[in-house]
C-alpha cells in the first residue's frame, strides 16, 4: 500500500535528456520573455510617472489590463485567439514555426512587463521630487532627466523586488505547458508518463527550479552590489543588518 520510491527512474532511460531539453526550453522562454518584460516594464513604468497625462493613461491602461487577467488566459489568448486574426498565409506560416513557443513568450512577456512596470514606478516614486527638479533646473529636458538621472537610480533601487519578479517569471513559464510547450514541468510529466513515478519526477523538477532560482537570485545580488552608488543607496546589506 505504501508508495515505493524508485529514484533510479531519473537517471535511467531518457529522463536526463528530457529534463535537460525541458530546462533549455524553460530558459529560452524565460530569457526572451524577460527581455520583453524589462523593455515594456521600463517604458510603461517611466510613462506612468511622466508629467504628461496621455502617456500616463496609456501606461495605466496597459498595466491594469494585462496584470489583472490570469496568465493562463493570456496563454490561450495568444495561442488560440491571435492566429485567426492573421491572414491565411501568415497563419499557416506561424503554425509551422512553433507558434506555441512564441505565443508563450508574448503571453509571459507582456504579462510580466505590466507587473515589472509597477515595480519600476514604485522605484521612481521613491526618489525625492527635488532630484528631478534639480535636474531640470540644471538644463536637462524631462526626457533627459529620466534617461540620465531618474532611471539609473530607480533601476538600482528596484533590484530586490525586480529579482522577485524575475523569479516569478521563470516559475510562471511552466503555465506554457497548457499550450503544449515542452518546457521543464512538461518534461517532468513526461517522465511520469513513461515510468508512472510521479513523485520522483516532480521532485527532480522542483530541484531544478530551486537551483535555477537560487542561482538567479545570487547573480542579481552580485549585480546589486556591483552597481550600488556609494553614499547614495547603501544600507540593507551587511553591516546595517
Amino acid at each position: 500500500m505504501k508508495y515505493q520510491f524508485n529514484w533510479s527512474v531519473l537517471w535511467s532511460g531518457q529522463s536526463g535528456q528530457w529534463l535537460l531539453s525541458g530546462l533549455i526550453l524553460t530558459l529560452e522562454l524565460s530569457v526572451l520573455a524577460w527581455l520583453m518584460a524589462v523593455v515594456l516594464g521600463t517604458v510603461a513604468g517611466a510613462f506612468r510617472t511622466a508629467p504628461w497625462k496621455p502617456l500616463r493613461a496609456v501606461a495605466t491602461f496597459y498595466v491594469e489590463f494585462f496584470r489583472n487577467v490570469p496568465l493562463l488566459v493570456w496563454m490561450f489568448f495568444w495561442y488560440f485567439g491571435v492566429p485567426p486574426l492573421l491572414p491565411r498565409a501568415l497563419q499557416d506560416w506561424v503554425f509551422a514555426h512553433s507558434l506555441e513557443f512564441w505565443a508563450a513568450v508574448c503571453a509571459l512577456g507582456v504579462y510580466s512587463g505590466a507587473r515589472f512596470s509597477e515595480v519600476l514606478r514604485s522605484g521612481i516614486q521613491s526618489i525625492p521630487r527635488t532630484l528631478i527638479e534639480a535636474s531640470v533646473a540644471s538644463g536637462l529636458t524631462v526626457a533627459q532627466a529620466y534617461r540620465h538621472v531618474i532611471l539609473p537610480i530607480a533601476l538600482r533601487l528596484i533590484i530586490p523586488p525586480a529579482t522577485s519578479e524575475s523569479l516569478n517569471l521563470l516559475k510562471n513559464s511552466s503555465v506554457a505547458l497548457t499550450i503544449s510547450v515542452a518546457e521543464l514541468t512538461f518534461q517532468t510529466r513526461q517522465i511520469e508518463t513513461y515510468t508512472a513515478k510521479a513523485i520522483e519526477a516532480l521532485t527532480a523538477g522542483t530541484l531544478v527550479y530551486l537551483v535555477l532560482c537560487v542561482t538567479i537570485a545570487s547573480i542579481m545580488g552580485w549585480v546589486e552590489r556591483r552597481t550600488a552608488i556609494p553614499g547614495l543607496i547603501t544600507g540593507g546589506r551587511g553591516e546595517s543588518r
Partner: protein, 285 residues
C-alpha cells in the same frame, strides 16, 4: 538556530502524527469515513464528464456507483457515500499515492509500467488509438503522420507510442482534451490522436460532427481499468467482486447500453469478442 530546531521538531511531530493514518488499509479508511473518494475526469464523455445539466456523470462513474459501492458496503457492512474529485492523466497517480483519492475511475489504460506503481481492477472497456482529422484530410492512419503536427493528450499512452514509432511526427501535447481539440479546429495541428472511443465522444459533442472524421486502424491496445494503491489486495478484491457480479448479473451490460447503446450518449456497440472477453474475466464464486 533554536527557532529552526523547534520548527524541525514540529515538522517531525506532524509527520509522525500523520503516519498511522497512512498505514490503514483502504477498506479501513472507507469504513472510518463512510466515503469512497474517486478521481474522475470532467471532460471525457461518456466515461466521466459534466453534462448539459451540469451534473458529473458517465459510464465509469455509473460502474462505481452501481457495482463497486454495493460490493464495498457489503464487505464492510455499512453504507458508503461516493465522493468525486477531478483527476487528470498527470495527477491521477499522485492523487492515489497521497491518499487524496482511493480509486481512479476514468479512462486509464492498464499498462505493465503503471502496474509498477498502482494496481488495476479487471478491464472494463477496450479501445485503441486512432486519429481525429478534418474531413478530407490526407491523414488516413499512423502511416501518414510523418512531418505532420499531431496533438495528443499529455500523459497518455498514445503520445508515447507515436514518439517511438513515428519520430518525425511533430507531437504537440496538451493537458486536456478540449484544448487539443480546439487546436485541431483552428488548424494549429493537423490531427488529434487519442483512444478511438474518446475521439468519438469529442466528435459527437463538436459543433458540426459531420466535419470531423476518425481515421486509421487501432495502432495501440488500450484496456481501461480502475486504478488503486498498490498492494491493497482486500480493496482490490472488493472492487473486482463488484465488477464480477455486475458482469454476471448483466447489470454491467445494461450500463454499457445506457451510454454506448443505440440510444446512448455515444453509440458504440460492444463486439461479440469484447463481450466474451468481459465474461471470461469473471472468476467463479
Amino acid at each position: 538556530m533554536k527557532k529552526l530546531m523547534s520548527l524541525l521538531f514540529a515538522a517531525v511531530v506532524l509527520v509522525a502524527g500523520v503516519a498511522p493514518a497512512l498505514a490503514e488499509t483502504t477498506l479501513e479508511k472507507i469504513s472510518r469515513t463512510g466515503e469512497l473518494t474517486i478521481g474522475a475526469r470532467t471532460g471525457s464523455p461518456p466515461f466521466a464528464y459534466v453534462d448539459a445539466k451540469n451534473e458529473w456523470v458517465g459510464f465509469s462513474i455509473d460502474l462505481v456507483e452501481q457495482l463497486v459501492i454495493p460490493s464495498i458496503s457489503k464487505k464492510i457492512g455499512k453504507p458508503v457515500k461516493l465522493v468525486k474529485k477531478e483527476s487528470t492523466p498527470p495527477t491521477r497517480i499522485p492523487l492515489l499515492s497521497s491518499n487524496a483519492v482511493d480509486l481512479i475511475a476514468g479512462t486509464m489504460t492498464d499498462t505493465r509500467t503503471r502496474r509498477d506503481s498502482v494496481d488495476f481492477s479487471i478491464t472494463f472497456f477496450v479501445t485503441g488509438a486512432q486519429f481525429l482529422v478534418k474531413k478530407g484530410s490526407p491523414i488516413k492512419g499512423i502511416g501518414d503522420i510523418g512531418g505532420k503536427r499531431i496533438a495528443a493528450q499529455q500523459g497518455s499512452t498514445n503520445a508515447k507510442i507515436i514518439r517511438e514509432r513515428v519520430p518525425t511526427g511533430q507531437l504537440r501535447e496538451f493537458p486536456d482534451q478540449p484544448a487539443a481539440f480546439q487546436a485541431l479546429v483552428q488548424g494549429q495541428v493537423d490531427a488529434f490522436t487519442n483512444d478511438g472511443i474518446q475521439l468519438a465522444g469529442l466528435k459527437v459533442k463538436a459543433q458540426n460532427p459531420a466535419d470531423w472524421e476518425i481515421v486509421g486502424d487501432f495502432y495501440s491496445y488500450e484496456p481501461y481499468g480502475m486504478a488503486m494503491r498498490k498492494g491493497d489486495a482486500d480493496f482490490r478484491n472488493a472492487v473486482n467482486n463488484g465488477l464480477f457480479e455486475g458482469i454476471e448479473s448483466g447489470k454491467f451490460f445494461e450500463l454499457y447500453d445506457k451510454w454506448f447503446g443505440p440510444k446512448g450518449e455515444l453509440p458504440y456497440p460492444m463486439s461479440a469478442a469484447v463481450r466474451s472477453f468481459m465474461l471470461y474475466q469473471v472468476v467463479p464464486k
